[in-house]
């Protein structure tokens, strides 16, 4: 039986902060331009190099390095739209990126799942992508869906099966972070066409977008760039993410790390704008800090949590929206650490005006799925959403007449104002759940139960049979082509 998807509740900050001063942003942008002009970016794609060369980039075809004069970069970036809409299967779930709200997605792309029933740890599969799409379809905190784990039961066409599982189980916008290469991208765009219905709708309300990672330091991935070019040509938003790691793939200082990652992102955004001026793009700077003893990427160290909001401010300096890093804990299990690492960075991203963010629901640095983790993260999300929402100081809210009526040493329990307004106060549905026999229940246990309840009871509006069949046909064709 079909059930309604609850309305989105994006974070709409009532106030904003600026972390970096204009002068600091100028210094960072100037350093990025100097890197692009003097050091250059390695770009192992003939197609991309040719586009750069055709538009004034200084290309060394033998080394596959492009250097971009400052003016070329600034001119190309002028075409990038600051605001646009990411569409959804249902129009009421379209995401209007207008700088007034932060929409968050799940994390991705994990490779292991704590099984929904046996609770055993195992490799992830397509069913997990589908179940989590349905679970998060129910959550008002989730504005759009990243396939949260890899469909490893479809080794060669996993990214397409992830998109299929997503479109079949959520009415929200889907953003892939795994589609790589022209071949896969063509199939993915075909799938987006099925959802949108026609090319015009696909361009106006793109139901699918793509995130491509660069390779630090200062290199692009051929497959990533070429899939991005196809997406951009089809009017689907594409973003570039740099995950530079302080000390190993970037300088061991924060500012140096930021500009190295920024140069990677901007070089790719320039390419897209050269090829398709005005194509919707986004900037995603998610640096880590290297663990000196293991070389690991650490996303949530003390200083690390400041990096994501700084990335958002740099995106805005370039005049493009951002996909900010939110959540993404280094913890091994959902618990104190996963909550400790998440909240203030999310709030700061919202307060600097980030438009989108991704990262709810995985632990072990974006690798492991606990089904209940997305509910725990959603609870933190709503705490932050409310913190950012500002205070109502209307006469009804200040309630002077009520205070006068009750007077010193009375109580407010019986007053009509209390009955009306207490219901509007929001309590967590994870914490504060009374235990039989007194006290409150363990919120993690409540989250597990709630995840099970959603999976049993929530069945979002399905795709039309014709759309389902068409997606299946496309998948079969792709599988056949790979010999799966």
């Amino acid at each position: 039986m079909e059930s309604e998807t609850p309305a989105l509740q994006p974070i709409k900050p009532a106030y904003h902060v600026r972390i970096l001063e204009d002068e600091q942003l100028d210094q960072l942008q100037s350093a990025t331009l100097e890197i692009l002009e003097q050091v250059g970016i390695q770009c192992p794609s003939e197609k991309a190099l040719q586009i750069y060369a055709d538009h004034g980039g200084l290309v060394d075809f033998s080394r596959q390095v492009v250097k971009l004069p400052r003016q070329i970069v600034l001119e190309a970036m002028l075409h990038a739209p600051r605001y646009y809409t990411m569409g959804a299967r249902q129009p009421s779930f379209d995401l209007k990126l207008d700088g007034k709200a932060l929409y968050c997605a799940t994390d991705g792309c994990g490779v292991e799942t704590i099984d929904f029933i046996s609770r055993q740890r195992r490799p992830s599969k397509k069913d997990d992508v589908a179940s989590m799409a349905r679970l998060t379809d129910y959550l008002s905190a989730i504005g759009f869906y990243w396939p949260i784990v890899s469909a490893q039961d479809f080794p060669k066409t996993a990214p397409l099966h992830e998109i299929d599982a997503s479109f079949n189980n959520t009415v929200k916008h889907v953003q892939s972070e795994t589609v790589m290469g022209e071949w896969t991208a063509r199939y993915a765009i075909e799938m987006a066409d099925v959802i949108a219905g026609n090319e015009r709708a696909r361009r106006q309300r793109p139901p699918l977008s793509l995130l491509v990672c660069s390779i630090a330091p200062l290199a692009q991935d051929r497959e990533g760039l070429e899939s991005a070019l196809l997406f951009a040509g089809a009017g689907l938003p594409v973003g570039f993410m740099s995950m530079v790691n302080t000390g190993s793939t970037a300088p061991a200082t924060i500012a140096g790390t930021l500009v190295t990652g920024d140069a990677e992102i901007i070089s790719a955004l320039v390419l897209i704008q050269m090829a398709y001026p005005g194509a919707p793009v986004f900037h995603s700077l998610m640096p880590g800090i290297m663990q000196p003893r293991t070389g690991d990427y650490q996303s949530s160290t003390f200083e690390g949590s400041l990096l994501y909001p700084l990335g958002a401010e740099m995106a805005h300096r370039w005049g493009v929206p951002t996909l900010a890093g939110v959540f993404g804990t280094d913890a091994q299990v959902p618990g104190w650490q996963s909550a400790a690492e998440a909240a203030s960075s999310l709030l700061l991203c919202a307060l600097v005006g980030a438009e989108t963010g991704s990262g709810l629901g995985l632990v072990e640095s974006c690798m492991l799925l606990y089904p209940e983790a997305v509910l725990l993260d959603s609870d933190v999300y709503h705490r932050v959403r409310n913190e950012a929402a500002g205070l109502d100081t209307s006469p009804e809210a200040i309630a002077l007449e009520v205070i006068k009526e009750v007077g010193p040493k009375g109580h407010f329990l019986a007053h009509r104002h209390t009955r009306t307004n207490l219901r509007q106060r929001l309590y967590s549905d994870l914490t504060g759940q009374p235990n039989q026999g007194g006290g409150y229940r363990d919120p993690i246990e409540v989250a597990r139960e709630k995840a099970n309840w959603i999976l049993e009871n929530h069945h979002p509006q399905p795709l039309d049979e014709a759309q389902k069949d068409e997606l299946t046909r496309i998948l079969k064709s792709a599988d056949r082509e790979t010999g799966h």
Partner: protein, 485 residues
């Protein structure tokens, strides 16, 4: 041998947030003034009522309700200092309140302790206060000391024994939240005078301060207010803490609860200024919620918006603010809930530029001490401290020469710049401590181990023997006088 003391690490906010607009602050202040003028606040103290009456307030002696006209409120508050000094046993730890700097303390006053050695839950006692003061003494994140739990092995004089335990185990400023009534407060002032050396020095660098709770709605506590007057006379800082609960002791709307709690605080602050103009006072408003299903007190609703708006209200009155952080409703240390509820707190308090902030280290809504909780809360504090810091953007940190040298597709591991900066780039909290097996340790276990290490290895600078004896003499006299009944 006393441990070398590291410098304090207060929050220093390089960018700040205004939660409320000027108009909202004016509207809230205007509502507070209306409540004080029309509804009034009950002061069940003849001494307090007399002071009000002598200064022109409208006093109803029968109902003990005082009504204050705005003119009188503003005239009285004109003498309130916006910033003042909170002295410490070791002058290097004096806290000079100033714009953009926030000092934190622990939570209080719990009533049960998870025993440091047996890990059994038991009623708290004086020894616990001493051990936690010693731990806090070692931690640079903690600017001043609150007795964390009640010295329940000392019955009626527990509050005085708590401050004795603090001064014997820490060189930092001590703030009590339990000393109540004229007689205990006189003893507390006497003890503080011993620490300072003289009444004049105590007034110059007050090494003791007090927080007094109001009773919602719109009532003052007799013992609290009369004790506060004693401290104000001696020039020691006194703060008033309102804890309105939405829907039971306050309107079920945040703005209403803020205005009402503010009226309780401001009426008490006015009394202090009428009695001792210029006395250092501070403002503290910590709203809570009633669970409609159980009636239970909930510190953290999902909608805890503008938790730090009262800091701005305090500043709007020209007073420093004691902000509230932590205080989770979680029943155990190191749980998801224990971080989910409180993780934003120190960051938000810093953004709002609260002057002083309480709350590290207790669970179960301020009642239960897990010794390791303070270390985990400090971890959250340090996250906030780094987030509020300025980012260095200069030639050395931009490292363009190094970027040129490495070029596309290389790595930075062998660079001199990396060797110079890698140590400062990863600041480890309890979450990134590597164990002997090469894996990250459980953060809670790291915190437990750290508490044990501090207990064994930190030796706070001892109090002079003469001062220790003098404190004991005062406590003996207080025990004799106060516990005689």
């Amino acid at each position: 041998m006393p441990t070398q003391y590291p410098p304090l690490e207060p929050l220093r906010t390089t960018y700040r947030l205004r939660f409320l607009t000027d108009k909202q602050l004016d509207d809230l202040q205007s509502a507070t003034l209306t409540i004080m003028e029309k509804t009034g606040v009950k002061f069940p103290s003849k001494k307090a009522l007399t002071i009000f009456a002598e200064h022109g307030a409208q006093v109803d002696w029968e109902s003990q309700i005082v009504r204050l006209k705005p003119d009188l409120v503003f005239k009285a508050l004109a003498t309130v200092p916006r910033f003042f000094l909170m002295g410490a046993r070791n002058a290097g730890y004096d806290l000079q309140l100033e714009e953009g700097v926030t000092y934190f303390t622990m939570d209080g006053c719990g009533v049960e302790t998870i025993d440091f050695d047996t890990r059994e839950r038991r009623p708290s006692r004086k020894e616990d206060v001493g051990v936690m003061a010693k731990i806090a003494d070692y931690i640079p994140s903690i600017g001043f000391i609150w007795p964390m739990v009640s010295a329940q092995d000392h019955a009626e004089t527990a509050p005085l024994h708590e401050i004795d335990a603090c001064w014997n185990n820490s060189v930092k400023h001590v703030q009590s939240e339990t000393v109540m009534g004229e007689i205990p407060c006189r003893y507390a002032v006497e003890m503080a005078t011993v620490i300072a050396g003289s009444r004049e020095e105590l007034r110059r660098r007050p090494q003791f301060s007090l927080v007094v709770c109001t009773i919602a709605p719109l009532v003052q506590d007799t013992a609290g207010i009369e004790g506060a007057l004693i401290l104000a006379e001696a020039g020691l800082p006194v703060g008033f803490l309102a804890m309105p609960t939405l829907g039971t002791t306050a309107p079920a709307t945040l703005a209403g609860a803020f205005a009402m709690g503010d009226a309780e605080i401001i009426s008490a602050a006015v009394l202090m200024q009428l009695h001792a103009p210029g006395a250092p006072v501070f403002h503290s408003l910590m709203q809570a919620w009633a669970d409609p299903r159980t009636g239970g007190y909930v510190s953290y609703s999902l909608d805890s918006r503008t938790r730090y708006a009262p800091v701005e209200m305090a500043h709007h009155w020209g007073m420093p603010s004691l902000g509230a952080c932590y205080g989770t409703d979680s029943r155990e240390a190191g749980t998801w809930q224990g971080a989910a509820e409180v993780a934003l707190d120190p960051f938000m308090a810093g953004l709002a530029c609260a002057d002083i902030v309480t709350g590290m280290g207790l669970s179960e809504t301020y009642t239960l001490l897990y010794p390791e909780q303070i270390i985990m809360d400090v971890d959250l504090y340090q996250r906030a401290r780094y987030q509020l810091m300025n980012l260095d953007v200069n030639e050395e940190t931009l490292a363009l020469d190094t970027v040129h040298a490495v070029g596309p597709g290389g790595h930075y591991l062998g660079q001199r710049h990396t060797r110079s900066h890698i140590r400062e780039s990863l600041v480890r909290g309890v979450t990134h401590q590597i164990g002997e097996d090469g894996k990250y340790q459980n953060p809670r276990q790291v915190a437990i181990d750290k508490v044990d290490w501090i207990r064994k290895n930190h030796n706070p600078e001892p109090l002079d023997i003469e001062k220790q004896s003098e404190l004991r003499r005062i406590l003996a006299a207080a025990d004799k006088e106060i516990c005689k009944g």
